[in-house]
């Protein structure tokens, strides 16, 4: 069953330095219970895509220029504030990157957790507290009954991220958006958190969008991958297909440039150049200036979509030859 269908999403930011087109026509469909990984570099528009789904893009300077995002048949992008507020934290929840700053340092964890429950559900405060404690136990906070009355600074980074996850899961959301949930954490803690998200997904049947720049994280957790570059999904497909047969030079380049833990590489093949300046109008394929396969056509015409295996597509003129 389709849970979310995003079509032709355009988001831009109007600043004194010009208009930055952060998202340029993103479309994807998400099936219930699936895990989609969105990968890309900073500035590729991956976070803005997810923020706009919850209408969290600050307007101004940002504006959602076009597109629809159908969630169970409702368009999230055009929903009035009071209706989207009911969905946020309830049906759709988000885990932010930085566990250090996403919790309010002045409020006890208990207050921050029960607030979500009390806002969305008609339950007593003691019941809300009990459910918060249960959730903290579920995410693996030892002595949850005692720790819930602590302040955020009394928790370590990994623990705070667990609190964030607990908070986002309190209302049993159908869709969980995790924006770089492990980037600020150490690898051993990252492994704990990823395993936790995986386990919760299996137990609660939550659909997950995992935004990350780490292809390793994607490989282990996601069914599908969307690779973003310059505000567009340039390649989409099943995780196995993307890693085994990347059909876009950017994906191919990223995979080749990664040093591997399990193998020795003589030299890393790096992608030359820098990501494009998003305030300038793009002509042709945005990756063309950095692409080793670029044709003359690539600098003039934006590539069509080429489809391959089941659901796998790439936006590259030479996709068939890669």
């Amino acid at each position: 069953m389709t849970l979310l269908k995003v079509e032709n999403l355009h988001v831009s930011f109007h600043t004194p330095d010009g208009t930055f087109r952060a998202v340029n026509g993103v479309s994807f469909t998400l099936q219930q219970g699936a895990t989609l990984g969105i990968v890309g570099e900073s500035g590729s528009g991956k976070s803005i895509t997810s923020l706009s789904l919850m209408q969290l893009v600050p307007c101004p300077p940002g504006s959602i220029d076009a597109g629809t995002a159908l969630y169970n048949g409702i368009d999230l992008l055009s929903l009035p504030e009071e209706k989207i507020a009911k969905l946020r934290g309830n049906d759709i929840a988000m885990i932010f990157q930085d566990p250090m700053t996403s919790l309010n340092p002045f409020l006890k964890i208990s207050r921050q957790l029960t607030e979500t429950l009390e806002a969305h559900q008609d339950i007593s405060s003691s019941e809300a507290l009990q459910r918060s404690i249960d959730m903290l136990e579920l995410v693996g906070i030892p002595e949850a009954r005692k720790r819930i009355h602590d302040y955020p600074h009394q928790f370590s980074g990994g623990m705070r991220q667990r609190v964030m996850i607990a908070m986002s899961l309190l209302c049993k959301p159908k869709l969980l958006i995790a924006d770089e949930p492990t980037t600020a954490l150490d690898v051993t803690i990252q492994a704990q958190i990823l395993e936790l998200i995986q386990k919760l997904r299996e137990e609660l049947g939550t659909t997950v969008i995992l935004i990350t720049h780490d292809l390793g994280v994607v490989a282990g957790t996601c069914d599908h991958v969307a690779v973003m570059y310059a505000g567009k999904i340039v390649e989409y497909g099943k995780t196995e297909d993307i890693f085994a047969h990347p059909r876009h030079p950017y994906t191919k380049g990223l995979l080749a440039s990664l040093p591997r833990l399990d193998a020795e590489k003589e030299q890393l093949t790096s992608i030359p150049g820098q990501p494009p300046d998003m305030s300038k109008p793009l002509q042709g394929c945005p990756f063309a200036p950095r692409c080793q396969y670029a044709l003359e056509k690539c600098c003039k015409l934006f590539p069509d979509t080429f489809s391959f295996e089941e659901e796998h597509y790439s936006l590259c003129w030479k996709a068939n030859e890669l």
Binding site: E41, S42, L138, V139, G140, S156, G158, M159, D186, V187, T188, I189, Q190, A191, Q192, L194, E195, L196, K199, H213, D214, L215, G216, V217, V218, A219, G220, T239, E240, F243, A244, G253, L254, L255, S257, L258, P259, R260, L261, D262, E264, K265, Q267, L268, T269, S270, I271, P272, Q274, P275
Partner: protein
Amino acid sequence: MSEQNMKPLVEVKNLKIYFPIEKGLILKKKVGAIKAVDGISFSIMPGETLGLVGESGCGKSTTGRALIQLIKPTDGEILFEGKNLTSLSNEELRKKRQDFQMIFQDPYGSLNPRMTVGDIIAEPLKTYNIAKGKPLERMVQDLLYEVGLNPRFIRRYPHEFSGGQRQRIGIARALALKPKFIVCDEPISALDVSIQAQILNLLDELKKRHHLTLLFIAHDLAAVRHISDRVAVMYLGKIVEIAPKKMLFENPSHPYTQALMSAVPIPDPLIQKKRQRIVLVGDVPSPINTPCGCRFHSRCPKVMTECRSIQPKLKEYEADQYVSCHYDGTINITIRKSLDF
């Protein structure tokens, strides 16, 4: 090392760095100490790259800073070409500093925004009266060219560059005095994935061209494997394992090294889904009240009784592989896969 008679360029003996914890506003009283680095020893041969890995707070950056005398160690010796740096006078140290430089993690914070790129790179050359005027400008342009930047950028300011380009400027500054030894403190962790490989390749190239000795500090194990010859793993102020990279990555012997390796995701879904992961329970303990016995015992999947009371010493397991663990690497205890969240 094959050359038995070769002397190490850098030798660290029983290095300890404690940061005092003080209480009271006017009459400060020492109430404790953060044991950032607690008695580590290692040496780096000329031309060798030693990788230093560990999680945040394990003391790897502190070690790097102490090595180039940005932090005075509490105890221990740092020998550079056989001379103890900790006992040098200020003037002697100033002269010696030409030989060791640092590349910092943050390419945004480590360059003065009010100086032009030319001035930033020329500063060390001016400080040591190596050149001035036209020859100085030529040297700076050569350095820019060497790190892959256009020499015409000399009059631009740092904000005109991207993160990767700024890191190149930082590298040019570190190279200016033709040092023998460079400490690279997380040089790629602030950069985008597609740029990281560019910087790693540049460091690799410069290392070979100038016969540089590097201490490469990072938490990204895959990058460390790529650039290092030997790797040291730190946990809570101690080195738990140090070995040539091939040995360390293919046959990690300390339980912490094993857990660390297994936690690093591999960008290949077929391998990644089949891997057996050792998920460590809990967090790193506080460096103020370090656990007695082995520092890792509170999270170790192979913990035994003596681990809780006796601190293990760094022992040679195989040639050049040193491990600090009571547990004898030859017995193969099945790894407890912790799923108790």
